[in-house]
C-alpha cells in the first residue's frame, strides 16, 4: 500500500460519558450475533433488536449500528454517501464515529478496513479483510409485490419468487427491457432473493464474488443480512434478456474515466450539464495521477 499524501485524520479522544461506539457491549454483542447468523445464511434477513440512535431512522441507523458493533480501536473507517466522502450525511456519520470511538478515518478506499456506504460501492476494488457496511432503507425485496411481511416471509421460506420474475417479464413486454434502475434484486447463493440496497444497477456486478465481507443493516426495519466473501450473487434476468449496466457517452469531466458511474451536474439554467465521477476518492486519485503524468508527457 502506498503512503497517502493526505494522512488519515488523526484520532480524537472519544467523547466522555458514552461507551466505545455509543452502544453498550451487550447490545453490540446481540447485533454481532445477528450478523453471524446472516453470514451463515447469505442473503437471508435476520431480525435484530435495533436501537434508537442519535440520528434519525432512514439516515443510516442500520449501517451505523452494524458499524458500531464490529468496529475496533485499530480500525480505519471510510464513510461515503452517493459515492462521495464529503456529502453531508457521510460527513455527519464519520463525525459521529470520530466522536464516540476516536478512531482513524480516511477517504481512501484502499486504506479503510471498514467502509460504511449509502447508495454506492467504491470503484476501487475491495480486498480480503475489508468490511463493507451498507445502509438499507427497505430490506424486503418482495415488498412491492407483497406489502405484508408475514406473507413475504412465507414466500422466502418456500423460495416462491415467481411473481418477481413475472414483474420483470411485464416490464419486457411493455418496454422491451427491465425498467428497474437501482436496488435491482439479486439472487444470493442460488437461494435467497436480496435487495442490494439502493445502489445503481451499475454496481450490482461488484457484489458477486467480492473478497470483502459485505454486511447490510436496516435499522428501522430491524433486519441484518450479509454476503460473506466470495459469494455468488446474480442479478435477476432472462436468458434472452440478459442483465445490463448503464454506460455513458462521455468520460468524467474531471479525470477522464470512462468506466465509472457518473453524476450528472446541471451547471446553469440553460440545460447545460457535465458528468463527473460519483466516487470522489477514485476521481481525486485519478486526477492526482494524471497531474503527475502530465509533465513527463509534455
Amino acid at each position: 500500500m502506498t503512503l497517502s499524501p493526505q494522512l488519515p485524520s488523526s484520532p480524537a479522544l472519544p467523547e466522555p460519558g458514552f461507551n466505545f461506539a455509543y452502544l453498550d457491549e451487550q447490545t453490540k454483542r446481540s447485533i454481532r450475533r445477528a450478523a453471524l447468523k446472516a453470514v451463515a445464511i447469505p442473503g437471508h434477513q435476520i431480525p435484530f433488536s435495533s436501537r434508537e440512535m442519535p440520528m434519525s431512522y432512514g439516515w443510516g441507523t442500520g449501517g451505523v449500528q452494524v458499524t458500531a458493533s464490529v468496529i475496533g480501536q485499530m480500525d480505519t473507517l471510510k464513510v461515503i454517501d452517493q459515492g462521495a466522502d464529503d456529502t453531508t450525511n457521510a460527513v455527519n456519520i464519520r463525525r459521529f464515529f470520530r466522536k464516540v470511538c476516536g478512531i482513524n478515518t480516511t477517504e481512501r478506499t484502499e486504506e479503510a478496513t471498514l467502509i460504511q456506504t449509502r447508495h454506492r460501492i467504491p470503484e476501487t476494488p475491495l480486498r480480503e479483510g475489508q468490511i463493507m457496511v451498507y445502509q438499507v432503507p427497505m430490506p424486503e425485496p418482495l415488498y412491492f409485490i407483497e406489502p405484508s411481511r408475514t406473507e413475504a416471509n412465507k414466500m422466502h421460506a418456500l423460495e416462491e419468487y415467481g411473481p418477481v420474475y413475472v414483474r420483470l417479464y411485464e416490464d419486457i413486454t411493455r418496454f422491451g427491457h427491465i425498467a428497474m434502475a437501482y436496488d435491482y434484486p439479486v439472487m444470493v447463493n442460488d437461494r435467497y432473493l436480496m435487495k442490494p440496497s439502493p445502489i445503481p444497477r451499475f454496481d450490482n456486478p461488484k457484489l458477486h464474488m467480492n473478497p470483502a465481507l459485505q454486511l447490510f443493516g436496516a435499522g428501522r426495519e430491524k433486519r441484518i443480512y450479509a454476503l460473506p466473501p466470495y459469494t455468488k450473487v446474480k442479478s435477476l434476468d432472462f436468458e434472452d434478456h440478459p442483465f445490463t449496466v448503464e454506460t455513458w457517452d462521455q468520460p468524467c469531466e474531471f479525470c477522464g474515466a470512462t468506466d465509472t458511474y457518473l453524476d450528472e451536474v446541471v451547471t446553469d439554467d440553460q440545460g447545460s450539464r457535465l458528468w463527473i465521477c460519483s466516487d470522489t476518492d477514485y476521481c481525486n486519485q485519478r486526477q492526482q495521477n494524471n497531474h503527475l503524468l502530465t509533465p513527463t508527457l509534455s
Partner: protein, 415 residues
C-alpha cells in the same frame, strides 16, 4: 471549469447547528425558559414526550422539550436516543393500578360505582374560550378544597362488576403454560403475527396522532366494535422491583399514569359465548386522549383472536404496529431530504430511455407505413444524452402493473 456546488461539508453542518441554537434561544432580552417551568407549566407536553420517548423522567423530558425548540416528536426522539445508552438492570413487578393514588376516576357505564366518580383536573367541561386574563402574568389560582380520601385504600375496578357476572371476557392467559416472561419490544425485533403483550407495548409508545386517527376510524365503521368507557383512572402508582440477589421487593419510584378500560360489545362466536370484551390503554402521565385511543385500537387488534372479520385498517396488526412509531416514521419520511443523486441519475437514465422508445413508437404509428422494428431496445449505449428540451410535463410512463402498491413509478420508491 465551472464550479460544482453539490457537496456539503463539516463546516456547513456545524454552522447549521450553531444557528439552530441561537434561533432557539430567541431574543436575549427575554428570560430563558427553565426546566422547572417546562416541567410544571407544560406538564402535559412532558407527559407526552415521556410516553412516546418510552422513558419516565420528567426532568430529562423537560430538557428534551427545551432542546427540541418545543417540537415534541423531536423531543421524544432525543429521549429514545438517550434511552439506548442506559443499561437494562431489572424488570419491575407488574404495576398495581388497583392501588393507584387516584386524582381522577370516571366511569361512563354506571352512574355510581364503588369508589365513586371523581372529575379531577379536566378540560372536559371547560368552555373552550380563550382566557385573555391568562395573557397577563402573575396569575394566582387556588386549589378548591375537597374532602380528603384515604389514599392507601384500593379502589375496586368498575369492570369487576361485570366480571362477577361472567359477562366480560377474562383477557386470556389463565393458561398456566402461558406465564412466560412478556415480550420486550425494546430488546426483541417485533415480527408478525404478534401477541397482545407486544402489541400493548407498541401502542403505549405509539404516536398519539396516529393512534387517535386509528381509533376514530373504528368509530366511523372501519372495524366497528361499539366501545364504552368502562373506567378511566389517573394517578400515581408505585413501581416495585424484586432483585434476585435481595429476594424482596424494593419500591423505586412513584409514577403518574393514565389507565383506560373500554368495554366493547361482542356477539360471540362458535367457541365464545356472547359477552363484553375489553380494550386496554395505559400511558405515562396524564394523557386520556391517547390512553382511550390506545384502548380502542387494542380492542380492534383483538379481531383475529376473537374470530371477527378483519376489514378495517385498525384491525390489521401489521398496518397498525409497523406504522405507529413516530420516531421511525419521522425519520423515514424526512430522509427524503438526504441526497439521492445516484438513484435519481439511474431513474433519469431510465425515463429518458423509456421516453425515447415511446416517442419512437408514436412516430412510427403516425408516420408513413414502414417496416417498424420492434420497440425493444436493450442497448443502453446512448443513455447519458441530455434530453431534447422537454417541458417537464408528465413522462407518460404507463402504469406497470395493477398489483403494485406504487402505481406511478416504473422503479421503486427512491430510498
Amino acid at each position: 471549469m465551472p464550479y460544482v456546488a453539490v457537496k456539503g461539508g463539516e463546516q456547513a453542518i456545524q454552522n447549521a447547528e450553531a444557528l439552530l441554537k441561537a434561533k432557539r434561544r430567541g431574543e436575549l432580552a427575554v428570560p430563558e425558559l427553565s426546566l422547572e417551568q417546562i416541567k410544571q407549566q407544560m406538564q402535559l407536553a412532558v407527559n407526552r414526550v415521556m410516553a412516546e420517548g418510552s422513558l419516565y423522567d420528567p426532568d430529562l423530558a423537560a430538557l428534551a422539550i427545551k432542546q427540541s425548540w418545543g417540537d415534541l416528536v423531536e423531543a421524544a426522539f432525543l429521549l429514545r436516543a438517550y434511552r439506548t445508552t442506559l443499561p437494562r438492570l431489572y424488570y419491575s413487578e407488574p404495576v398495581e393500578t388497583d392501588r393507584m393514588h387516584i386524582q381522577r376516576r370516571i366511569s361512563a357505564i354506571f352512574k355510581d360505582a364503588p369508589g365513586g366518580q371523581k372529575l379531577g383536573p379536566t378540560f372536559d367541561y371547560v368552555h373552550r374560550l380563550l382566557d385573555f386574563k391568562l395573557a397577563a402574568e402573575n396569575n394566582q389560582f387556588s386549589v378548591p378544597t375537597t374532602e380528603i380520601v384515604d389514599a392507601t385504600e384500593a379502589t375496586p375496578r368498575v369492570l369487576n362488576t361485570l366480571v362477577h357476572e361472567g359477562l366480560i371476557g377474562a383477557t386470556k392467559s389463565d393458561d398456566p403454560a402461558d406465564i412466560s416472561p412478556p415480550f420486550d419490544i425494546t430488546r426483541q425485533s417485533l415480527s408478525t403475527p404478534t401477541s397482545r403483550d407486544a402489541r400493548l407495548q407498541n401502542l403505549a409508545r405509539a404516536d398519539e396522532g396516529f393512534l387517535l386517527s386509528m381509533a376514530y376510524s373504528t368509530q366511523r365503521g372501519y372495524g366497528k366494535n361499539h366501545p364504552f368507557a368502562g373506567e378511566i383512572r389517573v394517578g400515581e402508582v408505585e413501581v416495585v422491583i424484586c432483585p434476585e440477589e435481595l429476594g424482596f421487593d424494593v419500591a423505586i419510584a412513584d409514577i403518574s399514569v393514565t389507565e383506560v378500560q373500554m368495554v366493547n360489545q361482542f356477539k360471540g362466536s362458535k367457541q365464545i359465548p356472547p359477552q363484553f370484551t375489553q380494550g386496554y390503554g395505559l400511558t405515562f402521565g396524564y394523557n386520556e386522549r391517547k390512553a382511550m385511543a390506545m384502548a380502542l385500537v387494542d380492542r380492534a387488534l383483538q379481531a383475529k383472536d376473537l374470530g371477527e372479520a378483519i376489514d378495517g385498517p385498525a384491525q390489521n396488526e401489521e398496518f397498525v404496529l409497523f406504522h405507529s412509531d413516530n420516531i421511525e416514521a419521522q425519520g423515514f419520511v424526512q430522509h427524503l431530504k438526504l441526497p439521492h443523486y445516484i438513484d435519481f441519475q439511474a431513474e433519469l437514465n431510465l425515463i429518458r430511455q423509456l421516453r425515447r422508445n415511446y416517442d419512437q413508437a408514436q412516430a412510427e404509428q403516425n408516420g408513413v407505413e414502414q417496416t417498424s422494428p420492434p420497440a425493444s431496445d436493450s442497448s443502453a449505449s446512448s443513455l447519458g444524452h441530455a434530453p431534447s428540451p422537454h417541458n417537464g410535463d408528465s413522462t407518460q410512463v404507463p402504469n406497470l402493473d395493477h398489483l403494485s402498491p406504487e402505481p406511478h413509478s416504473p422503479s421503486e420508491v427512491p430510498a
